[in-house]
Symmetry: D2
Subunit: 253 residues, 4 copies
Amino acid sequence: SKYEYVKSFELADHLLPHTWIVVRIDGRSFHRFSKDHQFKRPNDEQALRLMNECAKAVMEDISDIVFAYGVSDEYSFVFRKTSSLYERRSSKLMSILASLFASTYVMKWSQFFPDKKLQYAPCFDGRAVCYPTEAILLDYLAWRQVDCHINNQYNTCLWMLVEAGKSSEDAQKILKGTQADYKNELLYTQFGINYSTLPEIFRKGSSLFRRKEEEIVKFKDGLPIKRIRSKVVVEHCDIISQQFWEEHAYIIS
Amino acid sequence: SKYEYVKSFELADHLLPHTWIVVRIDGRSFHRFSKDHQFKRPNDEQALRLMNECAKAVMEDISDIVFAYGVSDEYSFVFRKTSSLYERRSSKLMSILASLFASTYVMKWSQFFPDKKLQYAPCFDGRAVCYPTEAILLDYLAWRQVDCHINNQYNTCLWMLVEAGKSSEDAQKILKGTQADYKNELLYTQFGINYSTLPEIFRKGSSLFRRKEEEIVKFKDGLPIKRIRSKVVVEHCDIISQQFWEEHAYIIS
Amino acid sequence: SKYEYVKSFELADHLLPHTWIVVRIDGRSFHRFSKDHQFKRPNDEQALRLMNECAKAVMEDISDIVFAYGVSDEYSFVFRKTSSLYERRSSKLMSILASLFASTYVMKWSQFFPDKKLQYAPCFDGRAVCYPTEAILLDYLAWRQVDCHINNQYNTCLWMLVEAGKSSEDAQKILKGTQADYKNELLYTQFGINYSTLPEIFRKGSSLFRRKEEEIVKFKDGLPIKRIRSKVVVEHCDIISQQFWEEHAYIIS
Amino acid sequence: SKYEYVKSFELADHLLPHTWIVVRIDGRSFHRFSKDHQFKRPNDEQALRLMNECAKAVMEDISDIVFAYGVSDEYSFVFRKTSSLYERRSSKLMSILASLFASTYVMKWSQFFPDKKLQYAPCFDGRAVCYPTEAILLDYLAWRQVDCHINNQYNTCLWMLVEAGKSSEDAQKILKGTQADYKNELLYTQFGINYSTLPEIFRKGSSLFRRKEEEIVKFKDGLPIKRIRSKVVVEHCDIISQQFWEEHAYIIS
Ligand SMILES: Nc1nc2c(ncn2[C@H]2C[C@H](O)[C@@H](COP(=O)(O)OP(=O)(O)OP(=O)(O)O)O2)c(=O)[nH]1
Ligand SMILES: Nc1nc2c(ncn2[C@H]2C[C@H](O)[C@@H](COP(=O)(O)OP(=O)(O)OP(=O)(O)O)O2)c(=O)[nH]1
Ligand SMILES: Nc1nc2c(ncn2[C@H]2C[C@H](O)[C@@H](COP(=O)(O)OP(=O)(O)OP(=O)(O)O)O2)c(=O)[nH]1
Ligand SMILES: Nc1nc2c(ncn2[C@H]2C[C@H](O)[C@@H](COP(=O)(O)OP(=O)(O)OP(=O)(O)O)O2)c(=O)[nH]1
Ligand SMILES: O=P(O)(O)OP(=O)(O)OP(=O)(O)O
Ligand SMILES: O=P(O)(O)OP(=O)(O)OP(=O)(O)O
Ligand SMILES: O=P(O)(O)OP(=O)(O)OP(=O)(O)O
Ligand SMILES: O=P(O)(O)OP(=O)(O)OP(=O)(O)O
Ligand SMILES: [Mg+2]
Ligand SMILES: [Mg+2]
Ligand SMILES: [Mg+2]
Ligand SMILES: [Mg+2]
Ligand SMILES: [Mg+2]
Ligand SMILES: [Mg+2]
Ligand SMILES: [Mg+2]
Ligand SMILES: [Mg+2]
Ligand SMILES: [Mg+2]
Ligand SMILES: [Mg+2]
Ligand SMILES: [Mg+2]
Ligand SMILES: [Mg+2]
């Protein structure tokens, strides 16, 4: 039609080839969403497990994603370097991931919160970023995990103080400018909590990746017929240190 | 932390100021999705009404959207020219709309399909495009409505022929290269269908915009207290001709 | 060859269609360049005329440029809205203009400075910007001309004070935070200068555009054979007020 | 001023950090330019030496450029990976290089063509491309050198045939679809030319990089005072094979 010229206003947005594409999604206004749905403070394990389940669904749908890392209301998805999914069009990748994640969140809500009604539609923003080398990609993931650690330590202290009767403002004042050691100390001496024994899902966030597993497909003449299958697994490991990446070299390279 | 430098790899993606931003979302693989959910052919009115309901929710959430147009598995959202929502960051706008639309689709599914189970999470891609003038913006909307018309006329013929016993291939051959007149004629002579009497939602798609309405807030001393309120309405009007835009000049300007 | 894949790392950079493309070039380190070539202060008329000559050469080479405005060490070139030169590729447009301007500057230097040696190669940076409407485009040009006015008024005062014996620092202190009126007053009372009588090229900058002129091509039987030809002219007019654009409506539309 | 808002239409164009930025410039319409200035065919050594001299001037001006490679009417400039020159703004980098190269070309013309007048201003387009790894960067450079080789071999044959009396069309027909071996053979048997003995500047193009050299600054008490200085050198070496890069590892890393 004579109107088709308007399509030419769509500008190309291909991402640089041969770089690690990371799509990060983040819950829109989850401060309010967490309150409205009475998420436990500082961490709601069920809410986190729901996030993980959504990320798993995304990874199972989109095979070019090799790794995902989640913390709080956000998830980072790492595409393999040579992915040409949607011709590496930034809009396609980020919008599809944000969209699929959000709709899956609604689909799976009741499995994780059987007694809680979802009040309104959750929403996630998305962005796509390129990282040129493996080292920088790992720094990116370390950045998110360090963030997880810092926030979690702070929030754990904050809510212990509040539960102990402090006002939110007073608790914030007490913590302001303090170091990691001080916070660990505070948790231990005042609340008898050894920070390093708190659940790993809170302290480390969640890492998703594929693992090849041998699986019995069927039995033939009483003998098991096995097949190697790639399965998405969830772990709460340290992804800052090199060790994890050395032991799982196949993920990135 | 020493890892924060990785944030600098996020490149700015602000859209040109003072242009009409259109975010179009489109169902991912809805060919399959429509089949898997037994959508009526060529149009499933309930499916379309669900799409409209989602678009309405998006517009009610995001007040900078002044108009939306939907057809098939897609929806276009028009932001007011001077919107500075999310600083006009392309990623934010397109991902949030695609995400919110998809999660709302799941939330509202059972209202429209009380007897049908949603098989899996639906997903929508998104893109953001700038249109520099009102005239070109209206050409954009006309482009989508012309597309609606052409596809609907074709699909209506196709499925009438198929229902009449033709194979899908034969039906396609019959229609190949034919003009609008021929198709209208075919519908009328072979099936007694006057195309222009088919439901407008199929022929014209759906247009959403705000309309100021007087509404009774409460009664005081037996007298109604009224208030002007802006409400999102759904119509199936002709948006190609100037008339609509002249009669609703306030929408765009 | 097996190396050709590297071409795919070149990302598209087309500018939004149907917008006014402005390429602005600006002398690199012309603070130093002006000093090294003893440009008169605050304005060197020959230097400005050389700039104009270069801009004229650019416009004569590239017919899609409909207007150009120059001040100080910068020039803005306006492409017609529907230009598809180099497919509106941003890189091509800005680099070619910056390059052509700079090489022309060297070519024409000796015409304007017959007794001065060009010490080293001059260089101009370039950028391309889209303006969606005529009104905003005219605001852009007004922006540059207002800048011209403000800088010229300030610089004129500064150098009069310096010539009158003040140190550069003292002169700057005197002018700091003063209004236009004060500066005009100062020029008039202390130096007997009526600002509005200074050369227009200093106060208004230079505007280049095409004008249709009747020209005698040859004589036949003693009678002149005329032809209409479009010629680039240089004026130092007010381009902030509407009047100029009303009288020269053909330039922009 | 109230016009300053127009500055906000300039959109950011920073290049991805930590990648090798290559700015390639290429002569605009040098087919015509070479003819108009009677460049020798297939290669004009003086024209090439002038190109090299311009590239050298660019490298001496801009210290973040670590390598440059030139062939025909083009030059590629490689910035060190961590360069933050002009905040890695694409427009700045490409326009400044194209501009500086062109103006230098005019400045130095008469040194290389003392008896030839420069007819008009030369012009170069520019573009900036990011390469994420050293291996791909070297592939980029190999791509340009392979291009040099293929074009030079073809052009050498073409002009020998033409000089031997063939029409340009006939010569092209003879060469069409032929392999490298065939062309070498043709040069040898028909014209007694051993291709590999032709000047390296034609066969390999020109590579510019910095080399640390010990230099005598002055004499003190009859003894030389030396200093290590980095100097831009021009070579016509093989940059496709690893050897060069192994021997000059300091250039890239
Ligand atoms: N109570 C509770 N809150 C959580 C949990 N996980 C995340 N949140 C909340 C805490 C934060 O207020 C919020 C995440 O912070 P963000 O920086 O993403 O802010 P928010 O989502 O409100 O705004 P945004 O739209 O992302 O800019 O989500 C949880 O497990 N329990
Ligand atoms: N039966 C039925 N199908 C519909 C209806 N509305 C849309 N569809 C189907 C018809 C098309 O196959 C599909 C929309 O076409 P698209 O070009 O968007 O393709 P699709 O979504 O399959 O792929 P995509 O991921 O968008 O590239 O959705 C409906 O009301 N009834
Ligand atoms: N004496 C003199 N100087 C002039 C004249 N026109 C321009 N200039 C100088 C004054 C300013 O220092 C300089 C232009 O200012 P810019 O903001 O463009 O700075 P500059 O070119 O030094 O740095 P840049 O590379 O553009 O960031 O050129 C003139 O006619 N006479
Ligand atoms: N005779 C002669 N011609 C040369 C020499 N070096 C380059 N040229 C000519 C041959 C080609 O026609 C031209 C370079 O080819 P390009 O693909 O860059 O085309 P051209 O510059 O004409 O157009 P463009 O503006 O780059 O698209 O320059 C030389 O040493 N001698
Ligand atoms: O952590 P981010 O990237 O979401 O950082 P932010 O401070 O929320 O900024 P924005 O979402 O606006 O990019
Ligand atoms: O109608 P569109 O824009 O979705 O057109 P398409 O042919 O589906 O192309 P794409 O979604 O890949 O832009
Ligand atoms: O007037 P401009 O746009 O050159 O403004 P600037 O302050 O010189 O900034 P830059 O050249 O870095 O865009
Ligand atoms: O070799 P290039 O990149 O100049 O390739 P081209 O075919 O000349 O294309 P363009 O200059 O239009 O990018
Ligand atoms: Mg955020
Ligand atoms: Mg959030
Ligand atoms: Mg968050
Ligand atoms: Mg599509
Ligand atoms: Mg679709
Ligand atoms: Mg569709
Ligand atoms: Mg500047
Ligand atoms: Mg300057
Ligand atoms: Mg300037
Ligand atoms: Mg080219
Ligand atoms: Mg060329
Ligand atoms: Mg070339």
